[in-house]
């Protein structure tokens, strides 16, 4: 299993994602300006502040040359994981429904959250049923979509991850922490599984997503 981790100008969690992926398989970086996925089996769009978060988070990154290939790969069923800024990029690209808005508090928040796996049919979550303890760190993480879209996502089993009661600090609609596309091969989430891969830092629950994808 070979993972590719996209690096945009302003990415900052690309190396953690690379190291997390290497715990379960091979991994290499994919440069934003190269329209080439180098034959990887799964793509991770990592956290950070791509293109300085100018205009809107993810708005400019979605037009990077590498994203043309990521979109093509995703639409053909390739596994894609968007974490934090990566989630924002995938929403801007239309690969995932909805959008991320500023936290209700308007503050940057860094804290451990507990997530309920609502729907575990995505390859990124297959076999995971227990709640996951994973850190969050963002200013723009309030998931929003119009109510009819949320109803549809819920009916389709696309509401993959929810914050447990008391953990939805950013004000996300219906406590949503992560969603998938209709096929389930694309998952986006605000919490950072790549920062929770070793008990040394408090939790290794995030590693389970990488293991699920590699299984």
């Amino acid at each position: 299993m070979k993972f590719g981790v996209v690096r945009f100008p302003g990415s900052c969690d690309d190396v953690d994602a690379l190291l997390a992926a290497r715990r379960v398989g091979e991994a290499e970086l994919l440069w934003h300006a190269d329209a080439d996925l180098r034959g990887v089996d799964a793509v991770i769009v990592p956290g950070g502040f791509s293109y300085g978060d100018y205009l809107r988070c993810g708005a400019i990154a979605r037009f990077a040359p590498v994203m043309v290939e990521v979109e093509r790969f995703a639409r053909h069923g390739g596994l894609v994981l968007g974490i934090c800024n990566g989630f924002q990029v995938l929403c801007e690209a239309g690969l995932l429904p909805g959008a991320l808005l500023p936290n209700v508090s308007l503050r940057f928040v860094c804290r451990q959250v507990t997530l309920e796996v609502v729907e575990g049919s995505s390859p990124w979550l297959r076999g995971i049923r227990d709640p996951l303890s994973i850190p969050c760190k963002h200013t723009t993480g309030r998931y929003w979509a119009p109510d009819p879209v949320l109803d549809e996502l819920e009916a389709n089993g696309q509401l993959a991850l929810r914050y447990l009661p008391g953990h939805n600090f950013n004000g996300s609609a219906r406590d949503i922490a992560g969603v998938t596309n209709a096929a389930g091969n694309v998952l986006g989430l605000m919490p950072h599984p790549e920062h929770a891969v070793d008990l040394l830092t408090g939790s290794a629950d995030g590693l389970r997503l990488f293991q699920a994808a590699a299984a």
């Binding site: 037009f63 909805g98 959008a99 808005l101 936290n103 308007l106 929003w144 004000g171």
Partner: protein
């Protein structure tokens, strides 16, 4: 042609930035302020203003969460905001 695009959060979507400003104004003694919303302003010189709506739809705004308003032909090309 100089154009200006005003981008606002869509009505009905919680706008905590607008709320924060709305709460701050009375604290400074400015009473009687309501419905404050904070958006973005993009100013640009364009050869073909007919393409502005597409620019807004594809990049300048996110139509899911934002409304945009195009004001074209306001200023001579090259006039920058704040330039004297």
């Amino acid at each position: 042609m100089r154009a200006r695009v005003l981008i606002r959060p869509k009505t009905g979507i919680l706008d905590p930035q607008g709320q924060a400003v709305e709460r701050a104004l009375p604290a400074l003694g400015f009473e009687g302020v309501a419905n404050v919303h904070v958006g973005r302003l993009v100013e640009l010189d364009v050869d073909d203003p007919a393409r502005l709506p597409e620019m807004c739809e594809r990049l300048l705004a996110n139509p899911l969460i934002e409304d945009y308003e195009i004001q074209a032909d306001l200023l001579p090309a090259g006039a920058a905001a704040g330039a004297s």
